[in-house]
Subunit: 140 residues, 2 copies
Amino acid sequence: MERHDLAETSQDRVRKAGLRPTRQRLALARLLFAKGSRHVTAENLHGEALDEGVRVSLATVYNTLHQFVRVGLLREVMVNPGRSYFDTNTGEHHHFFHEATGELEDIAAENIDFGKLPEAPAGTHIDRVDVVIRLRGHRQ
Amino acid sequence: MERHDLAETSQDRVRKAGLRPTRQRLALARLLFAKGSRHVTAENLHGEALDEGVRVSLATVYNTLHQFVRVGLLREVMVNPGRSYFDTNTGEHHHFFHEATGELEDIAAENIDFGKLPEAPAGTHIDRVDVVIRLRGHRQ
DNA sequence: ATGGTTTATTAAAACCATTCTAAACTATTG
DNA sequence: CAATAGTTTAGAATGGTTTTAATAAACCAT
């Protein structure tokens, strides 16, 4: 039964992350991780949940998204002032940002190589390297 | 006279950008460009102006910063949700972002090379490529 | 299962950076 | 100098996000 397997997967993700598998967290996990790589905003995901009849408040969506970031289920991407995007792809990768539409598009890690990168300043270490390629013009 | 030369430079920058050299714009330009490369927030710069006795409203600081971005005197950097940084270095370069302090530090363009970069999707063109190296831990 | 404790959810209010508004002002042009 | 086009401003509004304080759900040891 695919539906049962998928449900278990979402539940497992939440459980393994050390978060209580509440109805809301499970529903949001299912929405986030059922399909492939996604880039959502809080309002975005909240609307989707309501559309599916999942009763969840916007505050809980924010709480959940931040918890998922904290435990490594999501990654937060900042490209637009005043709006956070959450990315279900937590592996090493980069982004195209379509300035015309506000859309994010993944760039697989292997499509960007660094010939040269500076070292972290003394006393610090590199958490991660984010590349954002900002695009103008509409996709065809 | 150094002070006179600096004043002229700020005025020239504003004039050449096609903006009227108003008292506020000149004062802000002087604050921004007198010292070397800077990363400021709007509130940040507003406070600095008030400290120097320059009478200017926060709304004007925002207007001016955005106008300066539009005419290429400044560049907007987004690393923190809910807060924009403005960078007086408009040339090609990248950034260290100190997560512990919220500080930005320039990385000269020549210290990052790309061995490989993807092409822009059909119908779009690359506006710019931003690299942010996120750092953990405090500088020594 | 049950009761007690901890943790999560919620509506509503608060927050805070930023933008808008509409009126007063200033630089520019004729 | 007057007309006009652009600028500044205080204060209100906006909009995404966070907090609050009360309610509800999950957990844990019996």
